[in-house]
Symmetry: C2
Subunit: 260 residues, 2 copies
């Protein structure tokens, strides 16, 4: 990419929706690095995982939220946004795709539930180098100052590098000021997850309904995990793959002729 | 599990919805192997990936669709169904979880988009050995005769075995009669996917909308993949993992000190 004379095309999406402070911060963080195009959901899509819209049609509308920067909002999921951007807006693959900055953590097992990461993964499947960014602050008015510096540094590096085709990173940024961040750590995904506990309530008609809640538990005590890095004020970088084959179990089933 | 005197508890869910022929076939296929409990979505959830319901409450209702077998329908996604089953219905982990039988293929990259597989993965994350089953026939009235035989054989084997904690399989069954199936092959996930092509239409008010369509393309020519197995009339079994860390890229980023 460094050899190209024209500016790289940077596709930006998210899962919190196009009006969130996180996506605006991401646009601001990289607008000097290339031609930014925004395609993002018109409603919050957190926890949508790798959902796609099959059973209903999608809407798409150009918006002027980002001034000079071309932007579209869609009725689809984050994954739909990437697909629509490539097929109907850019009519080509962007040079890189960035997703986020998510309001809230997407470390450990949450990579699987995250709409932010699913959009990034969709791009990587298409052969577009991609990063999903998340800040460990759930508030609508979170402070993205430190996150923007991290994003700019990482994306600059990414645009210089000779990246592999399916380059995909899950980046989480601790809450706090730029001075509080100790550095960037390449990590593995921790085996840490929410222990579910549904809250049961009665509606005004006396019928039960349930809210998903849960307590976060880390079962992985290693110092090489994203959870450890974040607890120690490092930015966590987990390289992510989409070949979900469990080769160890595959070898075991073959060796024991399990299903013969 | 073989040592237990009581019958194993088999949790069954799907993504096509609780009224589909596929889930009924799955229940029928294993009802002699344990105590079956069904918890499944009340509406189709295909392509929901690993979506969970965070922003709205969930409903759950006991139904009598399966005669003697306890069954609940929920307003949630397949993943929500597994979470609700463990926390609110069984109040314990089932011995195994089965998802499907999906009306249509979930091989190759489709494991990532599949609600069927996400339910199975959710169970595996919880430490419940799990299999997602899919039949290569999208029709509502698909013939599950061969699939039911395969399911019964595989689940019998699964209940005898000393399975590892996060045992998770993606099983696809070719269309056709039992005699046409050549056997069971343990495979890796093929790098094969849909090349998207959105169909653009105008609504009665003259506004554009889009339907996701696409052509399936296999970029993986190996004979060790699920796509190859299915094309050659084998049942494909892909062991699946939920640690998405790309260890190869991790080592490379560490070696080159990419972000230093």
């Amino acid at each position: 990419m460094a050899k190209k004379k024209e500016k790289p095309v940077i596709l930006i999406t998210n899962d919190d929706d196009i009006t969130s402070k996180g996506i605006r911060s991401l646009v601001e963080a990289v607008s000097d690095l290339g031609t930014v195009v925004v395609v993002a959901p018109d409603t919050p899509q957190s926890g949508m995982g790798h959902a796609i819209t099959i059973g209903s049609p999608l809407r798409m509308r150009k918006v002027t939220l980002f001034g000079e920067i071309d932007a579209w909002q869609t009725s689809g999921t984050p994954v739909d946004c990437v697909k629509l951007a490539v097929d109907k807006i850019l009519h080509r693959k962007p040079d890189i795709c960035l997703s986020g900055i998510n309001h809230g953590a997407n470390h450990s097992i949450n990579v699987i539930y995250s709409g932010t990461m699913s959009a990034a993964m969709e791009a990587a499947i298409e052969g577009i180098p991609s990063i999903g960014f998340s800040l460990l602050d759930y508030s609508d008015d979170a402070d993205f100052t430190a996150a923007k510096q991290v994003v700019n540094k990482m994306v600059s590096k990414m645009l210089q590098g000779n990246l592999e085709k399916h380059f995909l990173l899950n980046v989480n940024i601790p809450k706090g000021s730029p001075e509080e961040i100790k550095g960037i750590r390449v990590c593995k995904q921790a085996y840490a997850k929410y222990e579910e506990d549904f809250t049961e309530r009665l509606d005004p008609h006396g019928k039960k309904y349930y809210w998903l809640t849960g307590e976060f538990k880390n079962f992985d005590k290693g110092k090489d995990t994203d959870v450890w890095a974040l607890e120690n004020n490092y930015v966590s970088v987990v390289p992510v793959q989409f070949d979900l084959t469990n080769y160890e179990l595959k070898a075991q089933l073959e060796k024991t002729k399990f299903f013969q």
